[in-house]
């Protein structure tokens, strides 16, 4: 098996030069996000170095407790980021989103690591990178679901009020928005599955091939992870929306939209 070429630090640093291209284009197009580009690059570097150090430590000192802590931190950050991107959720809605992400993420992770790979759930080599991929996609999916739900409700205030005045049940009024938002959340994942292998060689597969894994093994992992991601995005978005929308309705059949006091 060929081993991957280790990157020398000087050669590696050269990659940052590419950012000058991005900076130049942003300046030319008058995109006022230079600061964000620098902050993003800087944060990415620091965060990944930290992750690398922690992972090295966890791999060297195999202990289920470390894996659990790492997973919990990952899920915690996912939930925090997702909630902060959808301001105005009421307290119950936040609890629903938290439970949805944690439950869907952990159950599909367990299914993949124990059921498909046949490894101990606390084996950091499998649990941590897989959880990372699942959580990253879940965050995007649920954020999209909540944003699209919240935005479409806001833009349809007159419709919602009219139907409420008409005597339609709030559930009947809101359910179409729930289903639409779920569709919106699922589409990016489905589209990426459609283009996979043709348009793009996905990151995990590329990584495995680079490090010497046989392409067919890498492909099987990639297919499995995509299905797991799709399931998790679907489950977590569905349960966030489906149980979440009911927190907008009170016992008097009144509706308080997201962001309303």
């Amino acid at each position: 098996m060929r081993e991957i070429v280790e990157l020398g630090i000087m050669q590696f640093s050269a990659v940052y030069l590419l950012l000058i291209v991005v900076l130049a284009i942003m300046k030319h197009a008058k995109i006022n996000q230079t600061k964000l580009l620098i902050v993003a690059s800087f944060r990415m570097t620091i965060q990944l170095i930290l992750a690398g150090l922690i992972l090295t430590y966890i791999f060297d000192n195999q202990n289920p407790l470390f894996t659990v802590c790492y997973l919990l931190a990952m899920i915690g950050f996912t939930i925090k980021r997702t909630l902060s991107k959808t301001p105005g959720l009421n307290k119950k809605f936040k609890i629903v989103v938290t439970a949805s992400i944690a439950f869907s993420g952990l159950s599909t992770l367990a299914f993949f690591v124990i059921g498909i790979v046949g490894q101990n759930l606390f084996n950091p080599q499998y649990a941590i990178p897989i959880a990372g991929m699942i959580m990253g996609n879940t965050m995007t999916g649920v954020t999209l679901a909540l944003k699209s739900f919240s935005d479409s409700l806001k833009s349809q205030r007159a419709k919602i009020d009219s139907l409420l005045n008409l005597g339609a049940t709030p559930q009947k009024i809101l359910l179409p928005y729930v289903n639409n938002a779920l569709e919106t959340a699922l589409l990016p994942t489905l589209n990426s599955m459609v283009g996979m292998g043709i348009v793009s060689l996905p990151g995990m597969m590329t990584g495995q091939i680079l490090s010497g894994t046989l392409p067919m093994t890498a492909i099987m992992y990639q297919i499995a992870i995509m299905i797991v991601i799709c399931t998790t995005v679907c489950l977590s978005s569905f349960s966030s929306l489906h149980f979440g929308y009911q927190t907008l309705i009170n016992s008097r059949n009144q509706i308080k939209l997201i962001g309303e006091e």
């Binding site: 205030r157 007159a158 419709k159 009020d161 009219s162 139907l163 409420l164 005045n165 008409l166 005597g167 339609a168 049940t169 009947k172 009024i173 008097r252 059949n253 009144q254």
Partner: protein
């Protein structure tokens, strides 16, 4: 003496809008007037239970409103809001969509035409709503709500997008129809002439300081 339809005592909403104690009789056309910010629209929304008062009591036919089933109440006390909403498509599509939300089957073209003519809309049910003017949309919205035949019809600025002549004709038709059918009309209007002409009972709201808290 007419029965009391609604009765409010020490009513407040969010401690910003408070109402003097009021009564609205059944079977009489009541016009609600008053300066903006006096809570005219809020009052209507409290009466159909889309909002709940933060203070005080509201009674509908002698029952405490907070104990009534809100969905049933809203079907009974139908509010035609100021913000008109229509679905895309034809007039018939709109009737269909609104009726579907009430889980009722689409009325016949005859019935649709009857309500269109009450609201002075010379259109066929096939006509598209996309090209309608604001006033036409408002009248179609009214016609659809009227066709549900509630016990009480509450109109929030029903003629705001209409010229005074059309406004008069539409209100005359609606009130005549409602009187014949035993529907009580409660309307909020800025239009003094309309209020004077059609209001059998005029309720003037004033800004009331919150003395109840």
């Amino acid at each position: 003496m007419a029965a009391i339809l609604f009765k409010a005592k020490q009513l407040c909403f969010h401690d910003k809008i408070c109402f003097a104690d009021l009564e609205i009789p059944a079977g009489k056309t009541t016009f609600v007037t008053g300066p903006s910010g006096a809570g005219k629209s809020t009052l209507l929304r409290l009466l159909n239970g889309v909002l709940s008062p933060t203070h005080g009591q509201l009674y509908y036919l002698g029952h405490d409103l907070e104990t009534l089933d809100t969905i049933g109440l809203r079907k009974d006390v139908l509010l035609v809001s100021q913000a008109v909403f229509l679905f895309d498509g034809s007039i018939r599509d709109n009737f269909a969509a609104f009726y579907e939300h009430r889980e009722k089957s689409l009325p016949s073209d005859e019935t649709i035409k009857k309500f269109l003519s009450i609201c002075c809309l010379p259109f066929e049910p096939d006509a598209t709503t996309n090209t309608m003017s604001g006033g036409e949309k408002q009248r179609l919205y009214l016609a659809i709500f009227l066709s549900f035949h509630p016990a009480v019809l509450m109109l929030d600025e029903p003629t705001s997008a209409l010229d005074s002549e059309t406004a008069n004709r539409v209100m005359q038709n609606i009130i005549t129809y409602c009187q014949a059918e035993g529907i009580t009309v409660i309307a909020v209007s800025h239009d003094q002439a309309l209020t004077k002409r059609f209001g059998e009972n005029i309720l003037t709201l004033e800004r009331v300081e919150n003395n109840y808290a």
